[in-house]
């Protein structure tokens, strides 16, 4: 049996990543959108949605990253989303990896901040992204990510 509405898990760390994620959410209005980000205060940006709070860790803090990964795994297990979309960084990487284990289709949208080259997370996540996007035409290519517009 399939659910009548697709469930989309949208994941982002703070600052620009979160702002960029908010700007693509209208694409998922037909589905049920659940979010995960690093600050409870961001609730005010998404008043009608469920929001999971995740630890704020960068790739440079090993214990923080482990806690973050476990929390993301728990969220993916609980929500069992059909589609996962992220604008990065570390939380999005884990969400796509774990999501794949449970059959989710995955979208990586690399931040517009990465003008010269794809972000490190964006490069590492390549094998786990069904839709692998950059916002910069000059970074797109047949063996690179696709460019399909920007969050501006």
């Amino acid at each position: 049996m399939t659910r009548s509405k697709k469930k989309i898990l949208a994941v982002a760390s703070g600052g620009g990543h979160w702002i960029e994620l908010l700007r693509v959410l209208p694409a998922f209005d037909e589905g049920e959108v659940v979010l995960a980000t690093v600050q409870k205060d961001y609730e005010r940006d998404v008043p009608r949605r469920r929001l999971h709070i995740i630890p704020d860790a960068t790739r440079w803090n090993k214990i923080g990253v482990l806690r973050l990964a476990l929390r993301i795994l728990w969220i993916v297990l609980r929500e069992r989303p059909d589609v996962i979309v992220t604008t990065g960084a570390a939380p999005g990487y884990f969400a796509l990896r774990f999501g794949r284990w449970f059959g989710a289709r995955t979208i990586w949208l690399d931040s517009i901040a990465n003008v010269d080259e794809l972000s490190m997370s964006g490069q590492l996540v390549r094998a786990y992204a069904d839709l692998w996007l950059t916002q910069w035409p000059h970074l797109a290519g047949s063996d690179g990510p696709e460019c399909a517009g920007a969050v501006l």
Binding site: G15, I19, V115, G149
Partner: protein, 172 residues
């Protein structure tokens, strides 16, 4: 009021110092800075380490001009409200960030006419004088480009799935 913000990840003392020095020199007192977790408190301008998203939104709304690191969150927030923005890019060599992506971000938004950009504190101080008369080329809407929205919608709900889920009529 000029609003200075360095984002929530790391302090950016070089930026705050430069604005503080400018404030002392010009006597410009209506400056408020969000400075991050730093010991290095400015002397002439008001400051707070962090703001809630609500406080941040209010500061941006009330500001006549904004001075910031070249983070996309801040740039997008300023452009949505059509505010003049001057950015100083963080440099990895100074330990201000982990790579130099902000330099590229600053260059792009500067060349496109959306922001003023500085690549040294001297340049920042020089450009502060023209900031409040700077007009961003255009403000931006609240949603991503239609092309990107359509692409994400097609991937998520699109034709690929309809094909897989179509039911042949042989059951009868």
């Amino acid at each position: 009021m000029i609003f200075v913000t360095v984002g929530h990840q790391m302090p950016f003392d070089r930026l705050v110092h430069a604005v503080d020095e400018w404030s002392e020199r010009t006597g410009r007192a209506d400056v408020f800075a969000q400075i991050g977790a730093t010991e290095d408190w400015p002397k002439y301008i008001q400051a707070a380490p962090f703001l809630t998203p609500g406080q941040f939104a209010k500061r941006i709304e009330q500001a006549s001009a904004i001075v910031a690191h070249a983070g996309t969150g801040t740039i997008i927030a300023a452009l949505r409200l059509n505010k003049p923005l001057l950015v100083l890019a963080r440099e990895s060599a100074r330990g201000e960030t982990r790579n130099d992506h902000q330099i590229a971000t600053a260059k792009y938004f500067e060349e496109a006419g959306y922001v003023l950009a500085a690549y040294s504190t001297e340049e920042l101080i020089a450009k502060l004088a023209e900031l409040e008369s700077f007009q961003p080329r255009a403000s931006i809407g609240t949603v991503a480009s239609e092309q990107l929205i359509q692409r994400l919608r097609r991937f998520t709900f699109g034709a690929d799935d309809t094909v897989v889920q179509s039911h042949p009529h042989h059951a009868q």
